[in-house]
Symmetry: C2
Subunit: 217 residues, 2 copies
């Protein structure tokens, strides 16, 4: 099975369509996306939902969340994690010392341009750590179409695992690790309209691993 | 492991707490509840969410939904099913002829009193069918505390499978089939406050089967 990729513009239009004519709420989409992320192993709001599910799976997540959007949904997602006593940490490099897995949910498919403070040090730490890193939709700092920056922050960041939500983005041609697709909620008609393939999920899984040469680039 | 039961009053208070101090939206709770239901095999809004997930699992669900609440969330859940071209059927007994499983999500834990039209014929059909029936939280027509009615509609309704959301309700002492608990999103502090046990879910499952003698009555 070959999977087509979805441009940043198309991915944004798809999100808008799912929340208008598709009648999904952002709460629903983020819940399903975060559940997919949690099933890969261990992103912004998707990261908070994933941390909550991971707690219930028996893991001991900690959250680094230095830039907090003020909107009500994000505030509720934070409260749901606080109620589980999931710790929020301020020092990312220090937190790396006491974990065995990182979920990189900093930037999503709408990222472009320069990495702003305080994230350069965080991306450098993820680039240099020996523990496994899973990025959601895009390794943070990567261009959605062009992949890793040619130089500077992120140029040496190659996460071990990538989970593409709904459909792979064009940057996957630069990615060499294990690749999953999640977000099992797209109607066939929508996939057809946006011209991407819904992968063949197994059983009740919310994710599916994509093996080499399955992505059309 | 023994599981305590949750009274109808406590279950309603828990729902209110999850949506106030717990910061969950109804969208999130219904998404997670419906996902649990879909994982049992195949309930109002929970039933709509379950039908959507079942479609994505590869099943061919059909929905009998004669009494439609006018609120916006239920309208969106219907639209999400319509977008998958899941058929809505008007004749429940006829629809039974062409399926191999029924999810009974008619009444929830807040039901009490008499079964009103058009549901007596539906409950009689579920009582008499030979195909497997899965009820959500309570077999429809059963009293949450007392179980099946002593006579009349529902007195002979014994579904094959029950999925209790969050915690079993007292009626489980009258239930003889396979019993699952779903709704893996309760914070330990909330479970303690409401004095029920969170069952030991395995792996990433959103449901867990409860074997005989595990429920405290």
């Amino acid at each position: 099975m070959a999977l087509k990729t979805l441009s940043a513009k198309a991915a944004a239009a798809l999100d808008r369509e799912l929340m208008s004519t598709g009648a999904f709420s952002l709460d629903q989409l983020m819940e399903l996306a975060g559940l997919s992320v949690s099933q890969v192993g261990n992103v912004g709001g998707d990261g908070l939902v994933a941390a909550r599910h991971l707690f219930h799976y028996g893991y001991q997540p900690a959250i680094y969340y230095p830039k907090r959007p003020k909107n009500e949904l994000y505030q509720r997602l934070v409260k749901q994690c606080e109620d589980l006593e999931i710790p929020f940490v301020d020092d990312f490099p220090a937190a790396l010392e006491s974990t065995d897995h990182v979920v990189d949910a900093i930037f999503g498919f709408s990222f472009s341009g320069e990495v702003r403070e305080p994230f350069p040090a965080v991306i450098n730490a993820m680039a240099e750590t020996k523990i496994s890193v899973t990025s959601v939709d895009a390794p943070s700092s990567w261009d959605i179409h062009e992949g890793p920056p040619k130089s500077g922050v992120g140029s040496n960041f190659h996460p071990n695992v990538l989970i593409s939500l709904t459909a792979p983005k064009p940057l996957v041609k630069h990615f060499k690790g294990r690749h999953f697709v999640g977000g099992r909620f797209v109607a066939p008609a929508i996939a057809k309209k946006y011209d991407f393939d819904v992968p063949k999920y197994e059983g009740i899984d919310q994710i599916v691993e994509i093996t080499d040469n399955q992505v059309k680039i």
